[in-house]
């Protein structure tokens, strides 16, 4: 593992993408930038795994995509959270918190 960055556990990337898109609609590159910023570069989000994840979330109906011009006048594919996506974000956040808490407890006890 290089420079102490955390590799995301399986499945958490989806949650982070939903969280990022929950703030505002954005295109793929912006999502990856946002994740780097928020995590203060502590997370190693493979840009290559971002797009399959976006497409998977779109297929699940949690996000939807449309093409729009960026502020630099380029065409880009913007993603935004759907109503189902917002619900998914809530429940996934909740499960993650519970899971993290339980794992933390177990580790503290042991």
């Amino acid at each position: 593992m290089d420079s102490g960055r955390l590799v995301l556990p399986q499945g958490t990337l989806d949650l982070l993408i939903l969280k990022a898109l929950g703030l505002e609609p954005m295109h793929g590159w912006a999502v990856s930038e946002r994740l780097q910023q928020i995590s203060r570069d502590a997370l190693q989000v493979g840009q290559g795994s971002l797009y399959p994840a976006l497409h998977r979330l779109e297929r699940c109906g949690w996000i939807k995509a449309h093409w729009r011009m960026t502020d630099k006048n380029r065409r880009a594919k913007y993603y935004e959270l759907t109503r189902a996506g917002r619900k998914q974000l809530e429940s996934a956040t909740d499960s993650w918190r519970r899971l993290a808490a339980v794992v933390g407890d177990v580790l503290d006890l042991a």
Binding site: W29, S32, G48, Y51, R59
Partner: protein, 277 residues
């Protein structure tokens, strides 16, 4: 679930557009990334390299995105089909031979099974068709089955079976010349049957009447016209009832006992009776 189906359907039907979009999306990502590096003071060459490295193999990412679409199986199937068709086009003679032999094989099988179906499995279009049986005689010396009975034997059998079953007898269908009035003749399949034929098979006439007891006493022979011929030859005219039809005398009056006439379907179409003079 609906979004899933729509997503996959779009990927499948508009495959090319979806591919183009994927292309454009990844290109736009790379442009943004390159811009970022250039703004940070990198040379354009290094920026391009770094951006590509960060994304990983472009083809690999695309492949992963395609996997997500959930149409991979159908797409590769279509690809295989296209590949096969190209191969077939390349070697025409070979393809034609293959297609023909397949066609022959399938055709022969279909024919065989149609016959088998008609002979063994399809029940006759009659009520209680499974109650019908055919009598045959067995010649032990010649080890041969026959379905020909003398009329006397028929009468005796009928008497013997009376409490349990009804017996009908019919001649084989013979192509016979029939007078059509005004000197015209036509060849039709004629079958002699006992008067109880229609009653036993529970087939009725749409116009006129079917045979009733006594009709088979030769003083006043009558005939029943099949619905098909009624329509074809007489345009469904009900006035044929009572018309005289000279029918060349059926020579063989051996009586056979069939389970049913092989052409019962025709007889089972509505029939109309008309006595001949």
């Amino acid at each position: 679930m609906l979004s899933d189906i729509l997503f996959r359907l779009r990927a499948l039907v508009r495959g090319r557009a979806v591919e183009r979009e994927l292309d454009e999306e990844l290109r736009s990502h790379l442009e943004h990334e390159i811009d970022k590096h250039v703004r940070a003071g990198m040379s354009r060459f290094d920026a391009v390299r770094t951006a590509h490295l960060a994304l990983g193999g472009l083809d690999q990412v695309k492949e992963q995105c395609r996997d997500v679409r959930g149409t991979q199986m159908i797409e590769s199937l279509l690809q295989d089909v296209r590949y096969a068709l190209r191969g077939l086009r390349r070697s025409r003679v070979y393809s034609i031979v293959i297609v023909l032999s397949l066609a022959l094989g399938i055709g022969a099988n279909t024919a065989a099974y149609s016959v088998l179906h008609a002979l063994l499995f399809r029940s006759l279009p009659l009520s209680d068709a499974d109650q019908l049986v055919q009598f045959v005689t067995y010649d032990q010396g010649a080890d041969r089955h026959e379905a020909f009975f003398s009329f006397r034997l028929y009468a005796e059998l009928q008497q013997a079976l009376e409490p349990y079953a009804e017996l009908i007898a019919l001649t084989p269908q013979n192509p016979t010349r029939i007078g059509m009035g005004s000197g015209e003749t036509e060849t039709a399949l004629v079958e002699g049957v006992t008067a109880n034929y229609f009653a036993v098979l529970r087939v009725s006439a749409s116009v006129g009447r079917v045979l009733v007891g006594g009709d088979d006493e030769h003083r006043n022979p009558v005939a029943v016209l099949s619905h098909g011929m009624w329509q074809r030859r007489f345009a469904g005219d009900p006035r044929v009832i009572g018309m005289a039809v000279p029918i060349t005398r059926v020579t063989r009056w051996w009586v056979s006992l069939h389970r049913t006439s092989p052409d019962l379907k025709r007889t089972n179409e509505r029939t109309s009776g008309f006595p001949s003079a």
